[in-house]
């Protein structure tokens, strides 16, 4: 028996076929329950832009050879600090800026936050890269635990850092930063609202998507530069790169730093779309969702490209966005959607890791 779809499926990848079918099933089910499909799809688009840059952070990490970066919380922490500083300085409320346009003031706020976040993430990423160069061969385990550790470490600092703005610290003159910080007075939804328009009930968050695509373009450009190509070679075959006179450790350092920086940008884009910044254990599992997204898109621990990010994030977040309301229709008052999210994200990670062929890592 010959199955004409077999080569097609092999090319597209069985997990993607399943995920796409599941996504289509959810769309059909949502339609079947007479739910507001357009609103659900709007949600998909919003989440696509929100999570995209966090998934994009996997590309330089995988290409430079450290594999899937479960430790993007390193960069997330940098981004969160940038966001906190901007709120503390109340940039979005500066009369001079607001006078031009309130949205302009918010853009200045988030861009300053991104700049600070990038600066911090560069330093953190460099140190993180130094660490990863010392643990070659077991990066993925190390990144996972480093990611958890930084969360625990920052849990202390969130209590101790000298922020004083009323929006940030616990109310009633409490001490330490809040668990969830509202961005309503700073840069909440600034990207989502920019140039947004509606087609019927479908909302297109133009600013958000443009910013996401622009970041993808920058990374794509970098991957085609001399350094980017050298970095990919160093990741694919360290000995080959060495024979061409490339400093493999330096390339890994660049890739790790870039990944960390993207994570810092990513968390701020996520936070503005969500409307809140989550501290403490909030970003704990961000690494896992990002890894799962890019893997669903077709990346492997050895190779990740921009299309993997675009496809993967859309499918993964789309399923989550549709999953909850649809599941609630099936079994009201359940947390089936959360269970599905865990099964999908962890299942796809296990699948991808089982596909890695061992024993060819050498330098």
């Amino acid at each position: 028996m010959r199955n004409p779809f077999k080569p097609l499926i092999a090319k597209f990848g069985l997990p993607r076929v399943i995920i796409v079918s599941f996504f289509l099933f959810l769309v059909a089910a949502a339609g079947g329950f007479h739910m507001n499909l357009m609103q659900l799809l709007s949600d998909c688009l919003r989440r696509w832009g929100m999570f995209g840059i966090l998934a994009l952070a996997m590309v330089p990490a995988v290409q430079c050879g450290i594999g899937l970066n479960f430790g993007i919380s390193m960069g997330i922490v940098g981004g969160l600090l940038g966001g906190l500083i901007v709120i503390q300085l109340q940039i979005a409320q500066k009369p001079a800026l607001v006078a031009i346009h309130p949205l302009f003031a918010m853009w200045v706020a988030i861009l300053v936050a991104i700049l600070i976040g990038v600066a911090l993430a560069t330093v953190i990423g460099y140190l993180y890269g130094q660490l990863l160069n010392r643990v070659k061969g077991s990066e993925m385990t190390v990144t996972t635990y480093v990611g958890f550790s930084i969360i625990a470490f920052m849990n202390m600092w969130w209590m101790l850092l000298p922020f004083s703005d009323g929006e940030l610290i616990w109310p009633n003159a409490g001490k330490g930063l809040r668990n969830t910080i509202s961005l309503a007075s700073s840069y909440s939804n600034v990207m989502n609202k920019t140039l947004a328009f509606n087609i019927g009930n479908l909302t297109i968050p133009t600013g958000l998507l443009l910013f996401f695509f622009f970041m993808c373009f920058l990374v794509w450009l970098f991957m085609r530069s001399k350094t980017g190509i050298a970095m990919s070679a160093a990741g694919a075959n360290p000995m080959f790169a060495k024979a061409a006179g490339i400093n493999v450790n330096k390339m890994r350092l660049i890739g790790t730093t870039l990944s960390t920086v993207l994570a810092a940008v990513g968390i701020l884009v996520y936070a503005q779309g969500f409307g809140f910044m989550q501290l403490y254990n909030g970003p704990m599992m961000m690494g896992f969702t990002s890894v799962a997204a890019v893997l669903i898109g077709g990346a492997s621990p050895k190779r990740a490209r921009i299309p993997h990010v675009l496809i993967g994030t859309f499918l993964f977040q789309g399923i989550l966005a549709l999953g909850l309301p649809v599941a609630n229709q099936f079994i009201p008052e359940s947390n089936l959607s959360e269970v599905a999210r865990l099964i999908i994200s962890n299942g796809i990670i296990i699948y991808a890791l089982s596909q890695v062929k061992g024993g060819n890592g050498r330098e």
Partner: protein, 537 residues
């Protein structure tokens, strides 16, 4: 010889073996008398390992279709199809890589798997695996085995931290401790030993054989064979060449038998040779050059390679010839003085050789030579892009990949070198060995080097591609005056294209020979009979 009078402990006759259509053994015989030391000699790839794998019934033989021929142990035909069976028949092996457990004591290592145990209460309830170990008896056995080979060491010491030489002896002791051992195979036992350790090992071999145990001694070192062996079998290219009694032969004859083959012209001399090679115009000069490459150590070489010549570097595997180019390219730690066209090379700076216009085609095509998942185009232009900044265009402040220029060049290269592919976008990993080699060569040439190192250029590629690659190297040399250094295990190929050939033995330069020097000269140089670096004019 009168066969009826001779008794052999081992007789292997008409042994033939094919790996995937490639005949590696063609009717080989091996006869061993009890208690003799029998040397098994031949170049790399002569078929020694395959023959031993057959003797041990290794799975690699039987999973690839078995073998032809007969094996007799003590005059009885036997079927050895598992290593366990070989062990039961009293055939033991001392491995080249030690198979010892570092955290265990000497006794435990000798006795592992064959522990002596006594029943106790638990074993009566749960079976034999719960019996207590009789350490006293085991230590006594270990002592005895160690004493046989004259190793002064306490049997309760842990293996970890022992000198390499001791480990070898413990391996031997373990084999001796097996009851009923009749044949013991030593696979290049002296390769990792110092001279005095090797001396002691040879002594131990004599003692063992005097107890009636036959020894098959695999080695490349002629002096050792002359010192201990009683008889020898020589293989060449999977064929049986001769069985000789050591007392009836001499070093020169053995060397000739090992190398001897008709010179086949691999290269057509269609290209006029208009080169003028001067002795004082040196392209590469090495002084006290050392490379720390695992398995291919270079331990101090002085060598001058003249500008415009094709220089061959030969020698047996593991002797250090591959270390020479790998060290220069910075892939392994190297020290000493290296001058390229009179300029000193900074060996600690990665890529310095590339900056001095030296290119390298690695012996490890799939490991070092190629990005297997990337396109042919990427593979060809990569080094030149990184080193010379070619195939890049400026976009704002960044250097971007110039796809159009790269494609044009890659297509040209594919045409010149006749790389058989579906297109320059095909991943390099999908090509055949010969075409992969051409891609590697194309990449090196894109660098427009003054000096080209080619390591094992014809390993694993078919005869047609072999000829094309060698001819192309000759053409580059004749037409562009490129200095070409070929490192190869295939003497025949070196002798067909090189102007001079350096033979590396034991990490040192044995001598420099002319391609038309006698087979015996090559054989002797490769077997470590000549030391020091004299030029044989």
């Amino acid at each position: 010889m009168d066969k009826t009078k001779e008794t052999y402990v081992l007789k292997m006759d008409n042994i033939a073996k094919e790996y995937y259509g490639n005949r590696v053994l063609k009717g080989v015989k091996l006869h061993i008398r009890p208690g003799e030391i029998h040397a098994l000699m031949g170049e790399n790839g002569a078929g020694k390992s395959t023959l031993m794998n057959i003797l041990f019934g290794m799975p690699v033989i039987h999973s690839t279709g078995g073998f032809e021929g007969t094996v007799e142990v003590n005059g009885e035909p036997v079927q050895i199809d598992t290593p366990l069976k070989a062990m039961e028949m009293g055939i033991g092996m001392v491995h080249q890589e030690f198979m010892l457990i570092p955290g265990f004591t000497v006794t435990e290592n000798i006795k592992v798997g064959r522990e002596i145990s006594t029943p106790n209460l638990a074993s009566r309830l749960f079976g034999r695996s719960m019996e207590s170990l009789d350490f006293k008896q085991m230590r006594r056995d270990a002592r005895k085995a160690l004493k046989t080979i004259g190793l002064q060491i306490e049997e309760y010491v842990k293996i970890a931290g022992l000198p390499v030489g001791y480990m070898q002896f413990i391996e031997i002791a373990r084999e001796l401790d097996k009851t009923g051992i009749r044949i013991l195979v030593f696979d290049e036992p002296t390769a990792v030993l110092t001279e005095s350790e090797a001396e002691r090992l040879l002594e131990a071999m004599r003692v063992i054989s005097s107890q009636g145990i036959a020894i098959i001694f695999i080695t490349h070192r002629l002096d050792e064979v002359m010192a201990v062996a009683d008889s020898m079998t020589i293989l060449r290219d999977g064929e049986f060449v001769a069985r000789k009694e050591i007392k009836d032969t001499n070093v020169v004859e053995i060397a000739e038998l090992m190398i001897g083959r008709k010179m086949e012209k691999l290269v057509d001399d269609g290209i006029p040779d208009t080169r003028t090679i001067k002795d004082d115009d040196i392209a590469i000069s090495l002084r006290n050059y050392k490379v720390d490459m695992p398995g291919e150590k270079v331990t101090g070489i002085d060598l001058d390679i003249r500008k415009g010549e094709i220089f061959g570097i030969g020698g047996l595997a593991g002797q250090g010839k591959l270390g020479i180019p790998n060290g220069i390219m910075g892939l392994y730690k190297a020290e000493g003085q290296v001058k390229i066209n009179g300029q000193t090379l900074n060996l600690d700076k990665l890529g310095d050789a590339l900056d001095h216009k030296v290119a390298f085609v690695s012996e490890d095509r799939r490991g070092v030579g190629l990005l297997l998942d990337e396109s042919i185009e990427q593979n060809i232009i990569f080094s030149a892009m990184q080193t010379n900044g070619k195939f890049l265009k400026k976009f704002a402040w960044i250097n971007l990949y110039d796809a159009a220029a790269a494609q044009k060049h890659a297509e040209e290269m594919v045409k010149t070198l006749d790389i058989r592919c579906t297109g320059i976008r095909q991943p390099a990993g999908a090509l055949s060995g010969g075409n992969q080699q051409k891609v590697c060569l194309a990449r090196a040439l894109t660098l427009e080097p003054d000096v080209l190192f080619v390591s094992e250029p014809t390993r694993g590629i078919d005869i047609g591609a072999k000829k094309l690659v060698l001819e192309y190297l000759a053409k580059l040399n004749r037409e562009q005056g490129m200095t070409v250094v070929i490192v190869s295990s295939e003497l025949m190929e070196l002798r067909s294209v090189s102007d001079r050939i350096a033979i590396i033995s034991d990490g040192k330069l044995a001598c420099i020979l002319k391609p038309d020097d006698s087979d015996a000269a090559f054989g002797l140089a490769m077997s470590g009979a000549w030391k020091g670096g004299q030029e044989n004019a």
